[in-house]
Symmetry: C2
Subunit: 447 residues, 2 copies
């Protein structure tokens, strides 16, 4: 336990020194264990395991263009992302891990207690290399507080989901090297620092409000918090979006993807937009394996993940988008107001830019309720940074919004997080920054 | 409005007389507008619309056999099934329609106010042939009480979903021929009659409890109803089942399906199990079109859809199964304890029969809390009857159940109905029989 956040930083710096890592870019056809399949051109591992990079053809009536093809990561396996919680003197603490991921811009970030693949946890009874995994697989001694299948980045992954779990235990838990206990307030403070709490942590922490009890946060918002829309209206808005739009996908050989070029050290879009596929060699001293190579997706630039928010009848609401991405498993998910890489649209006329992007980028600094840079999953994405923003619109911002958008309170959105299949990873991560520890937003922290 | 249920029956008999229908079996290659595709052998309509019957290869670790192939209906379109509710003297009434469907054993059954295909409702602004549809598409004057995408029969449909809606209106609604208002109690009584309330009505009526208000029924079961498992435990049980099992599907040409024979008047399984694909000619006087031909799926025999129930700590619980079917869109759904055609297993040894089937079939009549025969969707399924049962197990029935099963109260299961993607059509229909109108089950009718 840390009394001061500075103690955490000392510990974290020490963990960085205790482990030596080296990550170098390498040519795609020199990646150890990986090759381009002769027939399809897909980038695959010789074991057939881990993941592959293939081609995807998308056809939809719910994006800027009607159809396109792109490389995409296929990884059908469902892993466990789990955070163990226990109380010390009545104060709940989360067990977090200082973990190197090669895609992280600073290598070391704070991850959940457990990040386990299916092969990790199905062999658990023969003894697992993943510490603390026994708290997350049956039979468990602790109490499951949150357990949902949650989607990951739909622009880069096809149908990827992980199981997000929070387990509360009263057992005595030994603290291994690289692990530490943090309070919600400490996590809240660290979530305001750039590139420190990793994506896996952020998505799991979106379930932290359910620790308080059995109630659906949406069920009874209380007399002082009157949301603009009822829960039933929000469900109906979402059902309508899922019914109205079409999203057809077909995997295709990577070599047939149009508009993308395979170069020795990357696969890139012909206009150098969106992302590259790059190769990495990794050497690390404190991982299960001491060295490996792998491909990664490297976004072309830093992205923006932003909620526009405003008070309605005195209650803070955020503007949620029903958004379709290439890999979205069920047509639309609830997304932040804006979720894009702005420079992809650098030449686009105003009416082809993502809705509300201009409002977000041009907001005065006084309107930024949250402004922090976080990394996306450093095991698959290389230097993938997003600026996480909550922008307060003034009362003149239109109450009426297009069909694809609706107002909800952060608390209402949190209610949907409990079920998988509703809230996308960007929105969950942004909610975590709003909800955990601090109480910067009306209604957001109400339990 | 009917003061007595006998008045309804007089009206319903009169509707039957007012309309003349004729349904005849016909050869598959003589179905007007339909043909077997030269290349694939798929059974398709010349317009490319409606639906098609294709082949499906299933591979899973969660059924009696690891892999099989079968014919299956593909109909990607999402339709609307909607029931309009209004209050007369404070008493809510549902607007129901006497509707002929060629697959119904008695042709005429009670359907929802609206059964609309996507092409029906997307052309609504040019004037629609579907009466009352304006109450279900935006902008609506009424209040949406229930609006969820719900799955249909996974054994016969691949990923089929319809939008289930209940809308409450205060508008003055003219009652057209073939339509009538029924109270919940009247519906409850009619749900105890065989083959009267059609499947589309039953699935929509599963959302009727949400009419009462904003609360999630699961949120606060009240101090007197202590369920065996908390909502979070149920979510975790379900997430674990979705994570644990594998379900891979691949559509294939119908002609390549193994173990099925194409005969002039049917496609059948080589052992005459499961179902046949048959052809029908329909002549009717009160439909949008006065005559048409179509293929249908005709199950090989009557099925059983049953909950085993028992009191735990004095509260009635049902035994819910996490079940995988060929067309299930996301690995498992919550299903009744038993959901099968018993004669498919006539030669199977006891350990290859569906779990709990014997307990259901051999229950004494005194243990049958519900026993009624209903038809499945008469637009796609021919004489598809299921015996809907709720069987009360005595207190000696094991408290501990296999991993694929869990106890929940009918009220808890109802909470999951509000969200799509959880509760399968059999369980929803069975819940409706338990919940609507009468109060035969503890906890089931609590609002």
């Amino acid at each position: 336990m840390f009394r001061e956040i500075s103690e955490f930083h000392e510990w974290f710096a020490e963990r960085g020194r205790a482990n030596a890592y080296e990550v170098t870019r390498t040519k795609l056809d020199e990646l150890d264990g990986w090759h381009f399949d002769d027939e399809t051109g897909n980038l695959v591992h010789r074991s057939g395991k881990f993941f592959s990079i293939e081609g995807l053809e998308i056809s939809t009536d719910h994006r800027e263009v009607e159809s396109w093809t792109q490389p995409i990561i296929l990884q059908p396996e469902i892993g466990i992302l789990g955070i163990l919680v226990t109380k010390f003197d009545g104060v709940p603490h989360c067990l977090m891990q200082a973990k190197m991921e090669p895609g992280n811009i600073n290598l070391l970030q704070l991850s959940p207690t457990v990040q386990a693949t299916r092969s990790n946890y199905t062999r658990v009874h023969q003894g697992s290399a993943v510490p603390y995994l026994e708290h997350f697989v049956a039979p468990r001694s602790g109490k499951v507080v949150f357990d949902a299948l949650q989607s990951e980045q739909g622009s880069w992954f096809l149908h990827k989901r992980n199981r997000n779990m929070i387990v509360e235990t009263t057992a005595d838990v030994p603290v291994l090297d690289d692990f530490c206990w943090l309070t919600f307030d400490q996590l809240g403070a660290l979530l305001r620092e750039d590139n420190l709490i990793n994506m896996d942590s952020r998505t799991v922490l979106s379930g932290l409000p359910f620790l308080a009890g059995e109630d659906e946060p949406t069920a009874d918002p209380g007399p002082d918090a009157a949301p603009e829309h009822s829960f039933e209206q929000l469900l109906s808005w979402f059902t309508e979006a899922r019914s109205r739009y079409r999203l057809d996908r077909r995997t295709m050989p990577l070599r047939q993807v149009r508009g993308w070029l395979r170069e020795p050290d990357r696969i890139r879009h012909e206009q150098r937009r969106y992302f590259n596929v790059v190769g990495l060699d990794v050497r690390a001293s404190n991982r299960e394996v001491t060295g490996w190579s792998q491909p990664m997706i490297a976004p072309s630039d830093r992205g923006v993940i932003a909620f526009l928010g405003r008070r309605i009848h005195g209650v803070f609401h955020v503007l949620v988008q029903a958004r379709t991405e290439a890999g979205t498993s069920d047509v639309v998910e609830m997304s932040p107001t804006v979720n894009c890489i702005p420079s992809n649209y650098r030449d686009a006329p105003a009416d082809k830019r993502p809705r509300y992007l201009d409002q977000v980028l041009m907001a005065p600094s006084s309107a930024l309720l949250l402004d922090v840079v976080h990394s996306e999953e450093g095991g698959r994405f290389y230097h993938a940074e997003n600026r996480y923003l909550v922008v307060e619109a003034d009362e003149s911002f239109p109450h009426q919004v297009p069909d694809d958008f609706t107002w909800m309170t952060p608390q209402q959105l949190m209610g949907f997080v409990r079920h998988g299949n509703y809230v996308n990873v960007a929105a969950r991560c942004l909610l975590t920054c709003m909800n955990v520890g601090r109480r910067a937003f009306d209604g957001a922290g109400r339990r």
